[in-house]
Amino acid sequence: MMAGDFTPDRRTVLKLAAAGSTAALLPAIGHAAGISSALIKAAKHEGGLNTIALPPDWANYGEIISTFEKKYGIPIKNAAPDDTSAEELQSIRSMRGQSRGPDVVDVGLSFALVGARQGLFKPYKVSTWSTIPASMKDPAGLWYGDYFGLISFGVNMSVAKTAPQSWADLKKPAYKGMVALNGSPLGAGAAFAGVFAAALANGGSLDNIMPGIEFFADLAKRGNFDPSAATSASLVSGQTPVVINWDYLNLAQAKKSKAMTKIDTIISADAKPYGAFYCQAISKFAPHPKAAELWQEFIYSDEGQLLYLKGFAHPARFSAMAKAGAIPASLMAELPPAKPYGEALFATIEQTKKAQAALTENWSKMVKA
């Protein structure tokens, strides 16, 4: 059910670029009207909002927070910017009934499911609810995906010369010793997703990660796989010229190191891309419940969603907004082509667990550099 219906009409997605240029001329109208003045008033009356674990340089949260504060005059207390999803849920539990407990959380899918099961969330459906893909939200409104990323190739063009366009390209002799993951797929999330993505491109599925492991085993045998753990520094310096990582990280790195080297971000053309998303939810024990609702309305409005996109994280309503021409052409130009973003596959918890077991069993046994 997760993977099924996040596939908007392909033709409309293809028309994106053209649509985008019209949108640049017209200010995004869309959903600003969806936020009722009664909600804004009630939220202002509560006088504050507690967020947690939102790093300012991640998915553009710094700007999202400051824009919200300025727009509604509601100060945000963002606790523990570098906390993990598990710690966010723990804060809901342990600060229950306290005025400093978190109002809203931003957690990985598996943790959203845990939170929903343990009754930590309060259901809410934003006014733009219908345009969030069904695979990215809880039908009851307990949690809802806010942004997602796809596995991509970050390519240091001064070393690699031509960028690989597909998983099959990575096997070419030209990329000998160049292809790297950001760590062990048994520990690093993006590396795990990278193997999953390779599986999708080589006859595997969300239920079968083995072809992905075989792909890397073959890559290693050809000498193309560099088993060292890539970092943004090793990508920029060219020690690991082709890094398989989340698109938003590769894109952000490319922008940051523009002056030093040219980094291209490629989403493989030969398979459905593998994606993962984060989820928003309102705490059941939110000390500022109305401000929390306003926060959700804001980040799911066109304005909020475009702020995510500015940080290279594709917002949940990306496809719908692209269809409606609500994405400025200048922003589209900085992103990879829109098509794969409408085709992303997301693994369920069961599929993830199955893949982990297969990886644990086979990764170090099969991949020999």
Partner: protein, 294 residues
């Protein structure tokens, strides 16, 4: 080292009374807080499941991949310690030879102190840049007709890791063994030679037996040093060579499959290995100790 008349430690301790306690208490507190309590916590975590006591996590140590990780870790540490002992020991010996230039010794100790602490991600990337499949030395060797990777060598394997570990093991050995070598008195050697001993006889019957306890402790130190190394092998192989410290980080701080209990069980396994190694050491040291006392 030499069995000279040092007053037994006990007498000093007794004479000091509260003075000793004042100095020992912070240390004992420190050991309790940072060694004993965490170990007890590990023990508790490894045996506590969702529903009370369980052997589930400790039993998982017997699973295929975990056994491989332990075997790899032990092999790697044993080899890396051996290389360190032999190369480091010989280096220290030659540097201390009477005829060596004066500056050499301080040069080697200074470099050793720096290199022994050069580990982790920078070390891994230094080796990738030199001996990786596209490294400078690899490419140079190819230019003169030697194909390293074609002949079966790879940095991303157990032998490759031994080579990388040697970079910090050898200097560490030089540092720890130098004082022991200095304690070998020249008179002993001269005495042996006067009695007609060859160089081999001297080392076989005098030098090595005296050095043995120091060599053994050095081996333990180097073994433990390699056994616990984490950042270097992770940055170098991202898990394709299964090692226990990497496995622990996967389940403890990874974001793919988190299981604190499995991590605790693995850590207990590591403690177990170290206990066995030190047990063997204690046995040998006691035998050696008998010899020294005589």
């Amino acid at each position: 080292m030499s069995p000279e008349a040092i007053p037994p430690a006990g007498r000093i301790a007794r004479s000091g009374g509260w003075f000793t306690i004042a100095f020992m208490a912070p240390f004992l507190l420190y050991v309790t807080a940072f060694l004993i309590l965490p170990t007890l916590m590990l023990l508790a975590t490894a045996f506590l499941g969702k529903h009370g006591l369980t052997l589930h996590y400790v039993r998982s140590l017997g699973e295929g991949q975990t056994v491989v990780a332990f075997r790899n870790s032990i092999e790697l540490s044993a080899m890396a310690a051996f290389v360190g002992i032999v190369v480091g020991g010989l280096t220290a010996y030659f540097v201390l030879l009477p005829g060596m230039p004066r500056g050499l010794r301080s040069l080697v100790t200074t470099f050793g102190a720096v290199a022994a602490n050069f580990a982790g991600v920078p070390l891994a990337f230094a080796f990738i840049a030199t001996l990786g499949s596209l490294g400078i030395i690899t490419v140079w060797l190819k230019l003169i007709g030697i194909n390293l990777y074609g002949s079966g060598f790879t940095l991303y394997s157990l032998p490759g890791l031994v080579l990388v570990y040697a970079y910090f093991q050898i200097p560490l050995m030089v540092i720890v063994i130098t004082p022991a070598l200095e304690a070998l008195r020249r008179e002993w050697r001269e005495a042996a030679e006067n009695l007609g001993a060859s160089a081999w006889d001297y080392w076989r019957h005098v030098g090595l037996p005296i050095l043995l306890p120091s060599l053994l402790s050095a081996y333990i130190l180097l073994f433990g040093n390699a056994f616990s190394a984490y950042a270097t092998p992770y940055a170098l192989t991202s898990g394709i060579v299964a090692l226990v410290p990497v496995a622990i980080s996967n389940v403890l701080s990874g974001n793919v499959m988190v299981s604190q209990q499995t991590g605790a069980a693995l850590a207990l396994g590591m403690i177990g290995v170290m206990v066995v190694v030190m047990g063997i050491y204690a046995l040998i040291a006691r035998r050696v100790g008998r010899w020294v006392k005589r």
